[in-house]
């Protein structure tokens, strides 16, 4: 087996030894770091995570960070409304979320400097500013590596697909993409999971029996080849997943009672949130939901009030309430963000707002995150954080913290370079109750 050497003198073997057994291979300094980490993460509550990506960059000024007193060329058309937490106001087009404000936290004055969609998205999906020479793993990949899961279920599911790539962690940690967006009340086909082409479980069992008879060429030697052994194990696991009613049920949102499903509405986002909730309940570790249409360069207010905000309002409020009803809110951390905010100053030519990473909002809920609060603040015109502000790295560190993952843990990149999970972030302590 290849023995990868690394720039810092650690071989992979050393790394494993330190990670598994402790003792001889563990230096004092790294031991102290670990001890620190344990202490830090003793209180972690979340066992699953849900990341909702609002693609295109939602306008902070018209959603969760309104500036009713800003000059006309900044303010925008919407008015704030009072939430169920005194003193917290959000957009009038989010009335349902206003009624569950106690369940989530708004982060204002989050700031970075990457104004391109792709790079900004990579940034908020990994907690690391993109580098040209290294691909950082998305949250889901890291969580798949760090947390154990149910063998009959994928650990990381992307609805319908995700910007979170496995990066230097390798293809093993890639998400399972559903490829399609579910729709409430309709049967849902999931790539690789749903039985295709008229097959029944019995058909698949029969085929698998045949396969096990025919797949004996390597015989005893299989145990001695890492590759063949791995293929064998993946084969068993895949078969279990494909045939188990557990995994198929998890993906089948038509199994939800109509009363429970109703609040999620008829939108794709609503159905995706409902599916995500079912997956969390079944034991999937990490789910991403991707929702687009937020790149409102033109007719910003029209697009938001008619197309974007109503389904968001409906879906997220139903999600938070649903997680709570099922007793899952405490053990599921939810992180909702776009890749950036939008220009506080209105583009009057197009009646829209353009890309703006210097100031944006993010939402977090569940998994020990204290709801009903606003952290951070932006200035009077919504152009910059008022004080220090937060970085996407900080929020990423906090997200991992909620899951009991030390964001300062070091991985080796494929070239052997040691890199922390989040390189420049600090946990935001106020997030946690």
């Amino acid at each position: 087996m290849a023995f990868f050497r690394t720039c810092d003198g650690f071989g992979r073997r050393d790394f494993l030894r330190a990670g598994v057994a402790g003792g001889a291979g563990l230096s004092l300094a790294s031991y102290m770091q670990m001890a620190h980490a344990n202490q830090l993460h003793k209180g972690a509550k979340a066992r699953s995570a849900l990341f909702i990506n609002l693609n295109g960059g939602p306008s902070h000024m018209d959603t969760f960070d309104l500036k009713p007193d800003a000059p006309d060329e900044y303010r925008g058309e919407f008015s704030p409304i009072q939430t169920n937490i005194p003193g917290i106001y959000i957009s009038e087009h989010l009335p349902k979320l206003a009624q569950v404000m106690d369940k989530f936290c708004i982060l204002r004055g989050v700031s970075h400097s990457v104004a391109a969609h792709q790079l900004g998205t990579e940034y908020v999906n990994s907690g690391n500013r993109p580098l040209p020479s290294l691909e950082f793993p998305g949250y889901g990949a890291v969580v798949s590596k760090e947390l154990s899961g149910d063998p009959e279920l994928p650990k990381f599911v992307a609805i319908p697909k995700s910007q979170q790539r496995p990066g230097y962690l390798g293809v093993r940690y890639a998400p399972m993409n559903t490829s399609a967006m579910p729709a409430v009340g309709s049967p849902f086909r999931v790539r690789g999971m749903s039985l295709g082409s008229g097959l029944t479980v019995t058909d698949v069992e029969k085929r698998n029996n045949l396969l096990s008879k025919l797949d004996r060429t390597f015989g005893e030697f299989e145990a001695e080849s890492q590759l063949l052994d791995g293929l064998g194990q993946f084969g068993q696991q895949a078969h279990a997943m494909i045939t188990s009613s557990k995994s198929r049920d998890a993906f089948d949102i038509s199994k939800e009672s109509p009363e429970f499903a109703e609040p999620f509405g008829k939108s794709g986002l609503g159905a995706s949130c409902l599916l995500a909730l079912r997956l969390v309940e079944s034991g999937v570790r990490f789910i991403t939901v991707t929702n687009g249409g937020w790149d409102t360069h033109r007719e910003n207010w029209d697009a938001l009030s008619t197309r974007q905000l109503p389904p968001l309002d409906e879906s997220l409020s139903a999600l938070f309430a649903g997680l709570e009803t099922r007793g899952l809110l405490d053990s599921t951390v939810v992180y909702i963000t776009g890749e950036f905010g939008r220009t506080p100053k209105i583009n009057t030519e197009r009646n829209g707002r353009d890309h703006y990473p210097r100031n944006m909002f993010m939402l977090m809920a569940g998994g020990g995150v204290k709801g009903g609060q606003v952290l951070g603040e932006s200035d009077a015109k919504g152009t910059l954080p008022k004080n220090e502000g937060f970085s996407p790295d900080d929020v990423a560190a906090s997200f991992y913290h909620a899951l009991g993952i030390n964001h300062e843990k070091e991985y080796k990149t494929t070239t052997g370079r040691p890199v922390m999970i989040v390189r420049n972030g600090n946990v935001i302590p106020e997030l946690f109750a």
Binding site: G170, R191, R207
Partner: protein
């Protein structure tokens, strides 16, 4: 060689002899006594000692942030910076109270714990240095010439055997010193040999590895082996060695007691070599012919034949695009049309691989690239490039002399990035370590890195502007079009539309700038040297491991770099390539990972690597020579079936190692296996639509077509980070789920051009493109019933009509009846005309599928062999129990696609 044990003793004696000359004793001895007054040397003793104690490691003061406000250069070798740092921690008045002593002694709290024992030789060494006013390294200090480690090779025979390594530093001033106690020791595999921090090795499991000794800039790897069996030397069984490669491999295996497996069967060979060389499976006909062929050189002939197929060209173009970093993401905005740059790059290499242009010439076309062909004016250049984008043109970028896009990548603009990318691609070296600190496993220092950088300073790469003297022309050409003040992306977008209409648009270019010229001018009556022009081009640079070169004489400062690359003396260029080709055929490189050639990671078989590299150079960098040389060896043609000595060995080439096929080949192979005979056979003559012919890559690349999802989960190279590991060949759960149950795969089984459709047609049976489900089955039953009903009703109408005509019925009646028949035909069309064939149901239901032939065929087209009797029986039974034969065969094909034997090359 003599009997066991002796070699080991002899080597030890050699070590003892070396110590007996004028070598200075080790520091541990010299500083053992309290009375010693010797002043240690900063470079020779103090820094190595700090390294040995772990002070300058990454977790401690070698961290870039330092620790506790104290920072040392990682792994030493920045003597000035280290000396400055330490100077603040020595107390020349009361030396014992120096922080540099008190901390590691734990006289005062030290987060890193106690590192020095009071009164130890290490303590004394440091103390004496402080007492002598802590001298640093002088500018003209001697440098390390060599680190001699004895024994040079260790062979263990049984458990518990031990050996102590000894290291002697030879300095450029002629000084020789035993530095064993100042070296750092590591093992590459502690299962085979564990080594203590003082260089003491103890035998453990059998196998082979290296222990690595580091001191100052030197890194020395000492091979340690313990034979796996008693079949060593003379006891080694008689094994044929038809080629030089085989001789060299066997020479090594004889030492290890590892016996080679037998030669593989013809079927195994044909499948393996076809997939390896052309990325495609052999046809059923080809397998039959090859097996039946009894000539002795049939394997060599087949190799020649395969190397001439388009699959070879496409696959090795893809590999060269991997190594050279043809990434669409990094080439964003380099051409007016998205993805054109990576397409052109692929085409350019493809044309050359197709012609078997020597490797060094292809490399020259990349390394020395500028956008303009020799003698091409700016106007001609713009015309020629514009024409590439004109509709219906038959020109290709491949006709251009060079490949400038290599220099245009976004991640190849900083000089540091160029050094890293270049060293990765052409030298197989991870020089990036030396960007920030001494390379921990090689001799490269930051100075080497910086010195090398100069060769990359003369190129303007981003392709956004023309040469300065052509900027006017650029503007004039642009002025012809109504582009207003458009800039950046909007301008590019407009120019794309214009050029696609057939206009000539201005282009930016990759160009080189010679270093500044030194001219003598007279100023105020005095002659002065003045530097003219040259931009940021360096005037001096240093090739890795060489002395500095004056660049001012060169028009293009890359010239000496290219000359060095292809020179027969270059230690890395040829090796990097032959090693990668070897790795493609043997799962691991002779140096592995193949792109990590460094002193601490020596080749598993150095003579073999030398032989291939030397031969490659001697044959004028002929790539096909190299492939042929390797593929014709018996070693390549071994069976994967292990024997008791080579079961666990995957790096000495004693058997074939099963390996997961690369993403593109896995996908192509699945598509091929399920295709009908015609389409299957086309894989040998064309690469159209194949994954191995996908041109670009990148994390955001959208040119993968249908194969897109498969390429992601099977780990096609993203060509992103200067690492062969951008391509992944590890298995994953998603890959298995994909092959078993993805609708894409399931649907491929049932296409019109598919094998199943062909079998149905050949056997005259109907083919429904899916396995009927329970609801389908009831639907089908109803359908069948309706078919009978409507067919009967129509027949009745037709009979009535015929009777009417026969009986001379009146015209109105006949016309009405005819209209009724027409309307019934139309109304019941879907029930009356099942399937594409004209065969009525009655006929087809009596047809019998030749299941035995179909099963044979399924095996040959997937596993390139016939089924064993047991396998044939199992498959036949499965078909017999299925709903119908076609459904049964679909299950057999599915199972074969999911065997391990299918997805690995073996």
């Amino acid at each position: 060689m003599k009997a066991h044990g002796t070699i080991f003793t002899v080597l030890l004696l050699t070590g003892a002899v070396a110590a007996s000359d004028s070598t200075i004793d080790t520091a541990a001895v010299r500083f053992a006594a309290d009375a010693t007054t010797e002043t240690p040397d900063f470079q020779r003793h103090v820094v190595p000692l700090l390294g040995k104690l772990g002070c300058n490691g990454r977790a401690c003061h070698g961290s870039f942030q330092g620790r506790g406000g104290f920072r040392l250069s990682l792994f030493g070798y920045n003597f000035k910076a280290d000396h400055d740092e330490i100077s603040g921690r020595v107390d020349p008045e009361t030396p014992p109270e120096s922080l540099v002593l008190q901390k590691p002694l734990m006289e005062i709290p030290h987060e890193g714990g106690q590192r020095l024992k009071p009164g130890s030789w290490q303590h004394r060494l440091l103390l004496n240095w402080v007492k002598a006013d802590s001298p640093g390294r002088s500018e003209d200090a001697a440098t390390l010439s060599e680190l001699m480690v004895t024994p040079a090779e260790v062979q263990f025979r049984k458990d518990g055997q031990q050996v102590q390594l000894k290291a002697v530093a030879v300095w450029s001033d002629g000084n020789r010193e035993d530095v064993t106690d100042l070296c750092r020791f590591q093992t590459n595999d502690d299962q085979v040999a564990d080594i203590t921090s003082s260089g003491f090795i103890e035998a453990s499991a059998s196998g082979d590895t290296h222990v690595v000794v580091s001191y100052d800039s030197a890194v020395v790897a000492v091979p340690v082996m313990r034979p796996v069996s008693d079949k060593t030397g003379k006891n080694y069984p008689d094994t044929p060695t038809p080629t030089k490669i085989d001789e060299l491999v066997i020479a090594r295996l004889k030492k290890l007691g590892v016996v080679q497996s037998d030669r593989c069967s013809d079927e195994e060979f044909l499948r393996r070599v076809s997939l390896d060389v052309t990325g495609a499976l052999p046809t059923v006909k080809e397998i039959r012919q090859f097996v039946a062929n009894e000539t002795s050189d049939k394997r060599a002939k087949k190799i020649d034949e395969l190397l001439e197929r388009p699959g070879y060209t496409a696959w090795w173009t893809t590999k060269l695009c991997d190594f050279t970093g043809n990434s669409d993401d990094q080439l964003n905005n380099v051409t007016p049309i998205r993805q054109a740059a990576s397409q052109q790059w692929y085409e350019w290499i493809h044309a050359r691989v197709d012609q078997n242009v020597p490797y060094d010439e292809i490399v020259e076309g990349l390394v020395m690239a500028v956008s303009r062909d020799p003698g091409e004016s700016y106007e001609d250049y713009c015309t020629n490039i514009s024409q590439l984008y004109h509709k219906g043109n038959d020109r290709s970028f491949a006709d251009r002399e060079q490949m400038p896009h290599y220099w245009s990548r976004r991640n190849f603009q900083q000089m540091e990035d160029r050094v890293i990318g270049f060293a990765y691609t052409f030298l197989g070296v991870r020089i990036q370590c030396a960007q920030c600190h001494k390379h921990p496993f090689d001799k490269w220092t930051q100075d080497d890195f910086k010195g090398f950088q100069g060769f990359f300073t003369g190129v303007t790469g981003r392709n956004t502007n023309p040469r300065p003297e052509n900027r006017g022309e650029y503007k004039q050409m642009l002025a012809k079009f109504d582009t207003g003040d458009l800039k950046g992306g909007q301008l590019r977008n407009e120019l794309r539309k214009i050029v696609q209409k057939g206009e000539i648009i201005p282009f930016g270019e990759v160009y080189s700038t010679p270093p500044p010229k030194v001219v003598v001018v007279e100023r105020k009556g005095r002659k002065q040297n003045v530097r003219r022009g040259g931009g940021r081009t360096a005037t001096e640079a240093r090739l890795l491991g060489e002395t500095p070169i004056d660049l001012t004489g060169y028009e293009d400062v890359r010239e000496p770099l290219m000359a060095w690359l292809r020179s027969p003396e270059n230690p890395l260029f040829a090796k990097a390539f032959v090693n990668r080709v070897w790795a493609a055929y043997f799962n691991v490189g002779i140096v592995n990972p193949p792109d990590d050639m460094n002193l601490a990671n020596p080749p598993s078989n150095a003579p073999l690597l030398d032989h291939l590299a030397t031969g490659f150079i001697a044959h004028g960098f002929d790539m096909k020579w190299l492939h042929r040389e390797i593929l014709n060896s018996r070693t390549y043609q071994l069976s994967w079936r292990p024997n008791s000595t080579n079961r666990l060995d995957e790096r000495n080439f004693a058997r074939a190692v099963p390996r997961r096929l690369p993403a593109e080949i896995a996908w192509d192979m699945v598509s091929q296996a399920v295709s009908n005979d015609d389409k299957f056979a086309r894989f040998a003559s064309s690469t159209d639509g194949r994954a191995i012919a996908i041109t670009g890559a990148g994390t955001r690349y959208r040119g993968n077509g249908d194969a897109s999802y498969a390429m992601t989960i099977f780990g096609r190279s993203i060509r992103e980070s200067n690492c062969d590991c951008d391509r992944s060949e590890e298995p994953s759960l998603l890959q298995t789920i994909f092959l078993r149950n993805d609708s894409q795969i399931l649907e491929m089984l049932d296409t019109k051009e598919g094998w199943l459709a062909q079998v149905a047609k050949e056997n005259g049976v109907p083919f429904s493109s899916r396995t009927p489900s329970r609801t389908d089955k009831s639907k089908l039953a109803r359908l069948a019933q309706l078919r009978v009903t409507y067919t009967n009703r129509l027949t009745a109408q037709q009979t009535a009509l015929a009777r009417l005509k026969k009986n001379g019925g009146n015209e109105n009646q006949i016309a009405r009846m005819e209209a009724q028949v027409r309307s019934s035909r139309k109304k019941w069309k879907q029930y009356l005309n099942p399937g594409a064939t004209d065969n009525s149901e009655d006929n087809t239901s009596h047809a019998v599928v030749n299941v035995a032939k179909a099963i044979d065929d399924a095996y040959l087209r997937t596993l390139s062999r016939k089924p064993t009797n047991a396998e044939a029986a199992d498959a036949t039974e499965f078909v017999a129990q299925a709903e119908n034969e076609m459904d049964g065969l679909r299950g057999v094909m599915w199972a074969l696609l999911n065997t391990k034997e299918f997805i690995v090359n073996h």
